[in-house]
């Protein structure tokens, strides 16, 4: 017996490295399959690192602002002129948009299709960090459960949709971008109203378009907007433009790619679509400004509004 134990110990000592390295290689697989368990350790580590990240961004941002706002003012006059011109142009556009809105309301009244959609409750959040790995598809934002943010809520930008909240701590939240391989968004063509699904590929500049019917007549440059539905993004927000349309010889669906409307590498602030009233007053953002002009709900369709 003693000899057997000694032999076993000797064997374990000899293969100790192989056993432990094998353990460290298989341990992630256990973690992967236990992913639905409570992620208290993850939250604790994020609660520890996120304030440091926030402090770094605020400190460096402050120094950059002082430099940019008070010291580096060489081209200010030229920029001022350009901005004035831009403001005049936008005022003209705003006036036109106001007329279109009035006309739209009048037509809706005529059709007795009052818009029953609840206004979106939006909360602005600063981007304080990105996923640690260059191959990750996440943002960390400076809002959490203290601000009424919940997991699963939609995150958008003025250009279009960004992603969904995956993990929330008291003051911070992680956002999974729509380009992540496990992300999927129900979509609607703004022109043809055909339905499809936009799936992430892991590439920041491209998504796949799935389940788009060949009969939809999608063409390059078609704008896709969110289709809405329970648990998804509110209806009518920009997703991106269709490119590389391939009509296969057989099958029901066509193949295509989607260029996201948002440049994810240039996001400094995002908007969270709150699913329940928060104690904090949301920023006065007009949801209509986030929608493309031709993406108003079709007759009979209702905006799904924020989802839990």
């Amino acid at each position: 017996m003693q000899a057997q134990n000694a032999a076993l110990n000797s064997l374990l000592r000899r293969y100790r490295e192989v056993v432990f390295v094998g353990l460290f290689l298989t341990l992630p697989l256990f973690v992967y399959f236990l992913r639905d368990q409570k992620r208290w350790l993850d939250r604790a580590l994020i609660a520890f690192t996120a304030p440091i990240e926030h402090a770094i961004v605020v400190a460096v941002g402050g120094v950059t602002d002082v430099w940019g706002n008070y010291i580096w003012l060489v081209h200010t006059r030229a920029q001022d002129m350009a901005l004035r011109q831009e403001m005049l142009r936008q005022r003209a556009e705003l006036q036109l948009a106001g007329e279109i809105t009035t006309e739209n309301a009048r037509l809706r009244g005529l059709l007795e299709l009052a818009d029953k959609s609840a206004p979106l409750k939006l909360l602005a959040a600063p981007v304080i960090a990105v996923g640690a790995s260059p191959h990750s598809h996440t943002l960390r934002i400076g809002r959490g459960t203290n601000d009424g943010v919940q997991a699963g809520e939609a995150v958008i930008a003025p250009e279009g949709i960004v992603g969904t909240i995956t993990l929330v701590t008291a003051g911070y939240a992680d956002v999974q971008l729509i380009v992540a391989p496990q992300a999927a968004v129900p979509a609607l063509s703004a022109r043809t109203r055909g339905r499809s699904t936009v799936r992430g590929t892991g590439d920041l500049s491209r998504c796949h378009l799935d389940y788009a019917l060949r009969t939809d007549e999608l063409v390059e440059g078609d704008l896709l907007v969110t289709a809405g539905g329970a648990g998804f993004f509110p209806k009518g927000l920009r997703i991106g433009q269709v490119v590389n349309v391939q009509k296969r010889a057989t099958g029901m669906f066509l193949g295509a790619e989607v260029v996201p409307a948002v440049d994810f590498s240039r996001l400094d602030e995002v908007l969270i679509v709150l699913s329940s009233p928060s104690e904090l007053a949301p920023l006065p953002v007009d949801p209509a400004s986030l929608r493309p002009p031709d993406a108003h709900p079709s007759p009979g369709a209702h905006d799904t509004g924020p989802r839990p």
């Binding site: 490295e17 290689l25 440091i52 191959h135 990750s136 892991g202 590498s265």
Partner: protein
């Protein structure tokens, strides 16, 4: 846990924080140049640590990446340990004590790491793109640049903790004990 392991864990935390915040602070046109600094730590461990200790610390470094990746937990931890095993197995072929050698090793390792990550994503999520991204090159270049200060920091840390007369190299920590 030894003092050295504790310090490596602290370095991993520091590196993870820097890796997450630097892209936000850079001008928008430079934000695609994202350095994988935790990979540089794993490479250093593979070249200087014994098997068990290095694999454990690599697992922790990968886990930190997992924390902010919003992918199912474990993917980056697996990739980090796999990278450690591959580089450790072939460690005798490398002489990367720092400087340009470390940068070159990190550049190549970053490309291989990106390929493994993409293959793993393809395996787990069938819609993942398998194309070679041009962004990989930018990221690998940034990782190469970032590896130089990381190697220098860790080397200095090791030199301050090693007994007099001991030199760094594969298994050096084990010999020191």
């Amino acid at each position: 846990m030894t003092l050295r392991n504790l310090l490596i864990v602290c370095v991993c935390f520091l590196v993870a924080v820097l890796e997450s915040t630097i892209p936000v602070l850079l001008p928008p046109f430079m934000r695609s140049l994202r350095a994988d600094l935790l990979l540089a730590v794993v490479l250093y461990l593979a070249l200087h640590d014994e098997w068990v200790q290095g694999a454990g610390l690599s697992f922790f470094a990968g886990y930190l990446s997992d924390l902010s990746a919003a992918t199912p937990a474990g993917i980056y931890a697996f990739l980090a340990v796999l990278t450690f095993v591959i580089v450790r197995t072939t460690a005798s072929a490398f002489r990367a004590d720092g400087g340009l050698e470390a940068a070159a090793l990190a550049f190549v390792a970053s490309l291989i790491h990106a390929l493994f990550a993409t293959l793993l994503f393809k395996l787990l999520f069938s819609d993942s793109s398998l194309s070679l991204h041009i962004a990989w090159l930018g990221s690998a270049f940034a990782t190469g640049l970032g590896a130089m200060p990381i190697f220098a920091l860790l080397r200095r840390l090791d030199e301050s903790l090693l007994p007099a007369g001991e030199t760094l190299g594969p298994g050096a920590r084990a010999r020191a004990r």
